[in-house]
Amino acid sequence: MNLYAEIAVALLIVVGASFGLVGSWGLLRLPHLMARLHAPTKATTLGVGSVLLASMVYFLATGEGFSVHEVLIVLFLFLTAPVSASFIARGYLRAHVDPAELPGAGEQGWASFVPRAGDGGDQAEASSSWDVRKD
């Protein structure tokens, strides 16, 4: 493994670790969940992506060939991070936010507060008693 590849791997690891640190620091420091959600879902995901890129460059440089595992992990993480962030935001909205305090969202209303077939009951029942289910 030559020096240039090694410096590239080291640089990618340092960048990724810095992003991961910033993401977790943001999770600790920011004031409420809607703000806190930004740090881990963006900075930490980018940091892990950088570390996986470093691993890819390392195994390419040591002559073990191109490995697809990192690509799989990166793809999976980058696809699932927004999904889980959206789920967490919706859970927080439903549990801790009054729909009257939110800004208007047109005729459709906020999707998180529209009653659905699986919710059971009307909207008031769905938004107030979701934590104590009757069934």
């Binding site: 073990e64 991070a81 699986g118 069934d135």
Partner: protein
């Protein structure tokens, strides 16, 4: 492991940074205050553990750990979605 100076320093920094990040996530996991904060902290801990596993793979110059990292990624996502669905619906399986 073949010893090269820049990579050793970078790996040490990476291990320290992600360990510190895990500690900070643990503080958020214990403090809360809402249950969604704890779910978010657990999700972030899974992602940081994946980074630690990959760094360990570079340190030991082996590809044996990637399956573990992939399993962590998949089960972390499934766990987060299951938690959130439980919070939203009050049940997991209809």
């Amino acid at each position: 492991m073949t010893t090269h100076a820049p990579l050793d320093y970078a790996l040490a920094f990476g291990f320290a940074a992600f360990a510190l990040a895990l500690l900070m996530n643990l503080v958020r996991l214990l403090k809360g205050p809402t249950s969604m904060d704890r779910v978010l902290a657990a999700d972030t801990m899974v992602i940081n553990v994946i980074a630690l596993i990959v760094l360990l793979g570079i340190h030991q110059a082996t590809k044996a750990h990637f399956e573990a990292a992939l399993l962590f990624a998949m089960f972390g996502f499934v766990a987060t979605v299951a938690f959130c669905r439980f919070m939203l619906r009050g049940r997991l399986i209809d």
